[in-house]
Symmetry: C2
Subunit: 206 residues, 2 copies
């Protein structure tokens, strides 16, 4: 039995979990309106990421959560708009791992300091396939509301991490729209409050 | 000093906190679409209250939270539609305390088993004034998304309790719309996960 369990574990390494991770306002927005190069998070949307920039011991929970995900990540799948507005901000790949951009444009692989951007023209499922090969069993993080919605719709997402920000933005881009057949049941297996936000973790039963 | 503190406490008793308490889907809906007598919570909206009807020890957190609020409540302010679709369901006032219905129609006070419904024609602020007099320092619970939004807009709400349900409903009535000037900052002072939902508590700074 030990041998079988061992084999299954090794075999299991080949398929990394697909994780959507978003900082979301209490009224459901993951970006403000009018996203542009100047306002990568939309107008007023920077508020959603403010929790990342607090220092000191009161930020220990938030840093711990961010580090936990950083240790798990093996690849990123992101949308073209997220890439366009994010690149100057990151100055690198968004995480230090291979990153796959879903786009209609044919672009050459772009080597950055930590890893490379690869541009995939065949859609979200193909980008995920390439990301899973690169991630070697580690987590694939999905960035960008459009790509995340397609992952939900095509039943490709395994987990959703929400950093729930105690603000009502009133307008912008919602994460949970166009996700396919409703209702969609999730299972919340963690809720941790920090002084700035609430960290929620959901599994998507398949 | 003791006397002063005592006086302030007694004086403080006169003004009960205004609490919005809603079971909300992760995508922000507090009811499904097409609310009617048959579907008081809208189509599919009953899912949001399912957590109240689980039995056994796994429900201890949820029951504890519900009881905490029940012990604090002194009056209710609710909208006319909530009253119309809720009455047959409750068979009484929604909580065992004086309940004030905001409506344009002139209706006589209606005595129920636990307390009375009073119909207020002069809007949300006047209904709240009457509720605060009746509550004698205890909490005023606000029911109905429309009335809740007006309370937010007119800066009358003190706290928001959200029972966050791990489901995406896709459509229905959103709580956080038409709440006035955005962004509106809140402070989350509690996040407690039960096996069924996440209990969130927010304060609204004034």
């Amino acid at each position: 039995m030990q041998g079988v369990i061992g084999f299954r574990k090794v075999w299991g390494v080949g398929v990394g979990k697909v994780v959507l991770t978003f900082s979301m306002s209490l009224d459901g927005f993951v970006a403000g309106p009018d996203i542009s190069l100047e306002n990568a998070m939309g107008v007023g949307g920077d508020r959603l990421h403010k929790w990342m920039f607090h220092g000191g011991p009161e930020n220990a929970i938030d840093l711990g959560m961010a580090r936990e995900l950083l240790l798990k990540v093996g690849a990123v799948v992101l949308g073209r708009r997220t890439y366009d507005v994010g690149l100057q901000h990151w100055g690198d790949t968004p995480y230090p791992v291979p990153s796959f951009v879903v786009t209609h444009e044919k672009l050459d692989k772009l080597e950055m300091e930590s890893a490379a951007f690869t541009f995939v023209n065949e859609g979200v499922a193909e980008a995920l396939k390439q990301a899973q090969a690169a991630a070697a069993g580690k987590v694939i993080i999905v960035m960008g509301a459009d790509v995340a919605q397609q992952m939900l719709k095509e039943k490709l997402a395994d987990e959703v991490y929400i950093q729930l920000v105690p603000v009502l933005l009133g307008s912008g881009s919602r994460l949970f729209e166009n996700f396919g057949a409703a209702p969609l049941e999730l299972v919340c297996d963690r809720a941790v409050n920090s002084p700035h936000i609430t960290h929620l973790k959901y599994k998507i039963p398949k």
